[in-house]
């Protein structure tokens, strides 16, 4: 059963069509990997779903209910949380304060998120976020999104800039969140990382949905290889 249906979604910035008539079904409980070259519209799609920007046309339904363009705070109320491509946490506050804010925003439902999620944040509880290493900040960003108690989590390049050990840890945390029942949309340029985690893959190119299927189908699709995957695999080998 679909948790979210995206129907004919478009978004333009002036003359630039970042999203063109995108329709996508997101079944409940899966990790959907979203890949595509730079400028394909992946982050724009995440921004529209999370309510950061409104669509120019099209509609979304979540959990069986149609919703218009929603402000971001309302999207969280529906059960959609997100992380950002550029690390976004409350830099001037401690990890404990960061998590407290997110837990309060989620009505205190997930106070134990830092322990449950396997993100290994306990050693940093009393440290100010601005003083922490990049890898810890990425984990904190995900913990904040988890702490509001969502049904769907939108992760925008969670592995970018991480070391191989940190990427493995992030992968474990994403799987753990998924196993707890969370539906996840994962935008990621690290194709190997994404293919290991995602059960479904959607490929975007120039604002349009090019392909949707399993990772194996995706890797065998000539159009996907031509547009992105060949290049991505070549990148990964370097």
């Amino acid at each position: 059963m679909s948790l979210m249906s995206i129907r004919h979604l478009s978004r333009s910035f002036g003359g630039v069509h970042a999203l063109r008539d995108v329709s996508l079904e997101v079944p409940e409980g899966i990790v959907l990997g979203l890949i595509g070259p730079n400028g394909a519209g992946k982050t724009t799609l995440i921004n529209v779903i999370s309510g950061l920007i409104p669509p120019s046309a099209g509609s979304l339904s979540f959990n069986g209910r149609d919703h218009g363009p929603w402000p971001m705070a309302r999207a969280v109320g529906y059960g959609i949380a997100r992380t950002f491509q550029q690390t976004r946490v409350f830099m001037g506050l401690t990890v404990r304060e960061n998590l407290r804010i997110a837990a309060e925003a989620g009505h205190g439902l997930r106070r134990d998120v830092a322990v449950d999620s396997g993100l290994d944040l306990e050693p940093f509880y009393d440290r100010v976020a601005g003083e922490l290493p990049y890898g810890v900040l990425r984990r904190l960003g995900m913990a904040l999104a988890l702490a509001v108690g969502p049904r769907m989590l939108l992760l925008d390049e969670p592995a970018v800039g991480l070391t191989s050990d940190e990427i493995a840890g992030m992968g474990r945390a994403i799987r753990r969140a998924n196993e707890s029942g969370l539906t996840i949309i994962l935008v990621e340029h690290n194709v190997r990382f994404l293919m290991e985690i995602a059960q479904h893959v959607a490929v975007m190119d120039r604002g349009q949905l090019l392909f949707q299927g399993t990772p194996a189908e995706c890797q065998g699709n000539q159009a996907v290889i031509d547009v992105y995957l060949g290049k991505g695999q070549a990148d990964a080998e370097h």
Partner: protein
């Protein structure tokens, strides 16, 4: 001791100590302490808006004035009991504050500060213009003093000081409840990163409006108490360039986002001009130098300096502590 319990017990103990010391102080010290307490009420409530929510309002001097004139009108002309008038003046200032906030929150950052500056200037001018209500340039005279507190046999100066300290205590506890509530967490999030706050589902409008209304309410009660203690108010007490900026200075020098820091700021900056009165020509100079010094060398204010000293002391104590540990520790 639980940190939240400590938040409420320490100010209560300090209030009790200050009240116990009051009979032993002379009238001049009582007067200065009363002024410091009223400034501290303003500073603590303003810290909720500036320090915790990150909005620099320059309209609060006028809101302090709204409370003062409302207090004068209610107690002298309408004949209200002071204890009833005090919260009502807070509510009147709060309603005025909500109207200001509805306008000001259409902007952000520097524009918010400039817009509230404009509102503060208009408010100050209104105190001159609305002569029938405010007495205009002559001021509002004949405001009744606060009534004597029951069970206490104090002269008026001592009575005023105890009432001011009680209002400060209530303000501090209320501010503590606010900042530890979900709204307080939301306010902190707004100060730090509005987009992330929204991404976490925080209703920005509700949280910042509550913070503004909170600070306006207590600015109004402080104004009403100030009017009753002074028996007279005039527009110059509520100008942006005096009270409006003074509130910012108290919070910044005391330490933003701490609640207790602004109280220290209020005490320091109220007593400083008094202690320098013998060299009054230099008192403003000293005031300015102090501000410059804090901005350049201690931007986190007195509270920041004290926290740093406390952490250094704890580190020294940890280093000096014996390394021997109980034999059972490794078992856990």
């Amino acid at each position: 001791m639980h940190s939240r319990t400590r938040c409420y017990l320490i100010p209560t103990a300090l209030l009790a100590a200050a009240c116990a010391a009051t009979p032993f102080l002379n009238d001049y010290v009582r007067y200065v302490a009363t002024l410091a307490a009223i400034w501290a009420v303003l500073a603590v409530s303003f810290d909720v808006l500036l320090g915790y929510t990150g909005y620099l309002s320059l309209a609060h001097g006028a809101l302090f004035g709204v409370g003062a004139y409302a207090g004068g009108l209610l107690t002298s002309r309408a004949g209200w009991n002071f204890w009833l008038a005090l919260p009502v003046c807070g509510l009147i200032a709060m309603v005025a504050g909500i109207i200001v906030a509805l306008l000001a929150f259409r902007t952000k950052g520097l524009y918010f500060a400039v817009l509230t500056l404009g509102i503060g200037l208009i408010g100050h001018q209104m105190f001159f213009v609305a002569e029938d209500w405010t007495g205009g340039v002559v001021g509002f005279v004949g405001i009744p003093s606060p009534p004597a507190l029951p069970l206490l046999t104090l002269d008026p100066a001592g009575n005023n000081l105890i009432i001011s300290l009680l209002l400060l205590w209530v303000t501090y506890l209320a501010a503590g409840v606010f900042v530890h509530s979900p709204l307080g967490a939301a306010s902190l999030a707004i100060r730090e990163d509005v987009v992330l706050a929204q991404a976490l589902g925080i209703r920005i409008a509700a949280a910042r409006m509550t913070a503004f209304a909170f600070s306006a309410f207590f600015a109004g009660t402080a104004g009403a108490l100030f009017a009753a203690i002074s028996n007279f108010v005039a527009p110059e007490s509520f100008a942006v360039m005096t009270t409006g900026f003074q509130m910012v200075v108290l919070v910044v020098v005391g330490g933003m986002g701490t609640l207790w820091g602004p109280i220290l700021g209020a005490i320091l900056l109220t007593t400083l001009p008094e202690t320098l009165r013998v060299a009054s020509n230099y008192s403003l100079l000293a005031y300015g130098v102090l501000l410059l010094g804090f901005m350049l060398f201690a931007p986190s204010g007195i509270a920041g300096l004290l926290k740093k000293a406390w952490r250094a002391r704890q580190t020294r104590a940890a280093v000096a502590a014996p390394v021997a540990r109980p034999a059972t520790e490794g078992v856990r």
